[in-house]
């Protein structure tokens, strides 16, 4: 009776692998196969990035060899004679993104400070979620809304107002079309606000309480507390958040394509239509099949890829550093 019990226990135990630890090659095989599969999946991310860079470089080589640096500074874009220069696109991309940052950064920092420092605790999560929802709206919907609601509003109200009051500055001169660089920038500003505010919010919330209490104990007002102890410690992370926002703005395609006007020109007025790298790719890429035109478009994609890679790398390192520094200051895990 007792013997059978023990033997049945033994058989169960060996079935579960308890008594055969290390002795069962099948078991070790399972572990190493799984570890290998998991390793492959992680490695696939590295391969994917490398392959992406490689493919874009390979496909744009004809254009790089033919035009060299001229590609970046020439305004010509002539598919018939196969002469390509990207300057108007680069200009439109950079100006629209910088304008968007100009509008979005103060707003985003206000939101981040409010939601991480000032707002009553019960209000923080719901308000934060509302702001985050802006990021969930598809960019094509932003574009649709921009075409039919925002651009007419800007063209009829905001742009004439700016032209009347600030018309002395050439940037605000020119006919108010509605559709144009300015409309694209406004939509971009709305689209990158959740990115910038969410990351800065997190960085500010991570600033150690000791630092804030020190300021409060010295009699600082709530705003002085933020200015003296929160902002300086969170600064690298905030810069990182802004850079990430810039990266998003540079690569945003649909909303910009629908609003920027798609006119290849360099115009001082921000009300004028313009063009961007991502938009020209979206508009022309499906129609070309091979040859220098495609190489030129892919070279622009490559430029965009390198800029966003660089910006993202920088931003991540800054945010990471702020995180670890805040943790160090905090002194507890």
């Amino acid at each position: 009776m007792k013997g059978s019990l023990i033997s049945s226990f033994k058989s169960i135990a060996s079935g579960m692998g308890i008594l055969s630890r290390g002795a069962n090659p099948l078991r070790r095989l399972g572990d190493s196969v799984f570890a290998f599969v998991v390793f492959l999946a992680a490695f696939a991310v590295i391969i994917l990035m490398a392959l992406m860079v490689y493919e874009l470089v390979r496909q744009s080589l004809p254009s790089i060899e033919q035009f060299g640096v001229r590609f970046l500074i020439s305004r010509e874009w002539d598919p018939i004679n196969n002469v390509y220069g990207a300057l108007p696109y680069i200009y439109g991309t950079i100006v629209s993104s910088l304008l968007a940052l100009l509008m979005s950064v103060p707003l985003s920092l206000g939101i981040a400070i409010f939601l991480s420092q000032f707002a009553p605790r019960w209000l923080r999560a719901p308000l934060g979620m509302l702001v985050d929802l802006l990021a969930a709206i598809p960019s094509v919907v932003y574009g649709l809304w921009g075409i039919f609601v925002l651009a007419p509003f800007l063209g009829k109200t905001v742009e004439p107002f700016l032209a009347d009051h600030l018309g002395g500055i050439p940037v605000f001169r020119g006919p108010a079309y509605g559709i144009g660089l300015f409309a694209a920038s406004v939509v971009l500003a709305i689209m990158i606000t959740p990115t910038i505010s969410a990351i800065s919010r997190e960085v500010m919330a991570n600033v150690s309480r000791d630092q804030k209490e020190a300021a409060q104990a010295l009699g600082a007002t709530p705003w002085e507390t933020v200015r003296m102890s929160v902002l300086p410690l969170a600064r690298p992370g905030i810069i990182g958040a802004v850079i990430l926002g810039l990266g998003r703005a540079l690569g945003e395609t649909m909303a910009v394509t629908m609003l920027i006007g798609n006119v290849r020109q360099l115009n001082v007025s921000i009300f004028a239509p313009a063009y961007s790298i991502a938009s020209v790719i979206a508009n022309e890429f499906a129609e070309v099949t091979e040859g220098p035109h495609m190489a030129a478009l892919i070279e622009m994609a490559l430029i965009l890829l390198f800029i966003t890679l660089l910006l993202n790398l920088l931003a991540r390192l800054l945010v990471q550093r702020t995180g670890s520094r805040a943790a160090r200051v905090k002194g507890r895990p």
Binding site: A35, L48, L107, P138, Q216, M254, I281, A282, I298, T308
Partner: protein, 338 residues
């Protein structure tokens, strides 16, 4: 009773709240925050800048408080301003879209210009197919890569993979589209649903990988140890204990990633292209909701604009359902876990 005491009271309350949040008792030895007056008397030996700050006149104190309130209001105002576009967009999408939305919009094929009626049935089905293909590629790879990051501590590889997947999530989606175009469309000389799905799958990958990693890290080590102590091999421990425990969290990550790709248009423009018929095969061009909205939005026809609004309403409903749903679900889980 003056403003100053009110401010001090507020600071004190704020501090108590902070302690509550961290479940810490305020250290008894810590002296309570001194008032402005006492600070002023004690700070006589401090630098002149300090003295200016603490022993200022009543007028100066008032101006500091006013400045603080002003900053508070400006920050609150920016939060309000940011929610305005959201509400406006939702309002217009519902207002314009609801009028054009009906059953035949959801089930019919698009009609040529001039004919009334028609819908985006094929685009909705196409979007579901594309999301399905994307999930088949993005989810397993993402979960496995996340498993590597969380369970196998190989610091150098993990650092690189983590950084790259963060960077990958910042790569503009149109570039992923071009990459898949050169990789698949040029090779097979065919725009296809597969190509579109692969592009979306690549976009899903980083989100799924990073949430999987985070969720698996939240699984307590005691569970792993208990399982290993029972003699269960490591891979079985990971698949049936760790992943199973983290499954809810991983699910929210997948939902968030799906919400992100459901509205993606740019990478589909030259991979899946578009189509005006029902999907016939995965190796053929396929319609999708976002591309159809784009095509209609930039067309010059009023009837098509209405359809674009209706399509946007459907798309926004899907995306908001996925992202709000996952956040609420996750929030509830977090509360239960703590």
């Amino acid at each position: 009773m003056n403003e100053e005491q009110a401010i001090n009271g507020r600071l004190q309350m704020q501090k108590e709240e902070d302690y509550e949040a961290a479940e810490l008792a305020p250290p008894a030895a810590r002296p309570s925050a001194p008032t402005h007056e006492s600070m002023g008397e004690e700070a006589t030996g401090k630098a002149s800048r300090d003295r200016k700050l603490y022993s200022g006149s009543a007028a100066r104190r008032r101006s500091r408080n006013i400045r603080s309130r002003l900053a508070y209001s400006l920050c609150a105002l920016s939060t309000v301003i940011a929610t305005v576009p959201l509400l406006l967009i939702l309002f217009y999408v519902i207002y314009q879209g609801a009028g054009a939305l009906n059953l035949s919009f959801l089930t019919d094929l698009p009609k040529p210009v001039g004919e009334s009626g028609g819908g985006m049935g094929n685009a909705i089905v196409g979007s579901l197919i594309l999301i399905g293909i994307a999930a088949v590629i993005g989810v397993p790879f993402g979960v496995l890569a996340g498993t590597q990051l969380a369970e196998y501590r190989s610091p150098r590889l993990s650092w690189v993979v983590r950084l790259l997947s963060d960077i990958l999530s910042g790569v503009p989606s149109i570039i992923v589209g071009i990459f898949v175009y050169t990789l698949l469309v040029l090779t097979f000389k065919q725009f296809s649903a597969i190509a579109g799905g692969v592009a979306l799958g690549i976009l899903m990958l980083p989100t799924v990988a990073r949430t999987t990693e985070e969720m698996m890290r939240m699984v307590p080590d005691s569970l792993r140890e208990a399982s290993l102590a029972l003699g269960i091999p490591r891979w079985r421990t990971i698949t049936s204990v760790v992943i199973k425990t983290a499954a809810g969290g991983i699910m929210t990550g997948v939902m968030l990633a799906t919400a992100r790709i459901a509205g993606e248009t740019a990478p589909l423009l030259f991979t899946a292209l578009n189509s005006r018929t029902w999907p016939t095969g995965l190796d053929k061009p396929i319609a999708s909701l976002p591309v159809q909205i784009y095509t209609y939005a930039i067309s010059p026809f009023d009837a098509w604009h209405k359809q674009a609004w209706a399509g946007s309403l459907v798309l926004v409903l899907i995306v908001l359902f996925l992202s709000i749903g996952s956040k609420l679900y996750f929030g509830r889980r977090m509360k239960r876990a703590t």
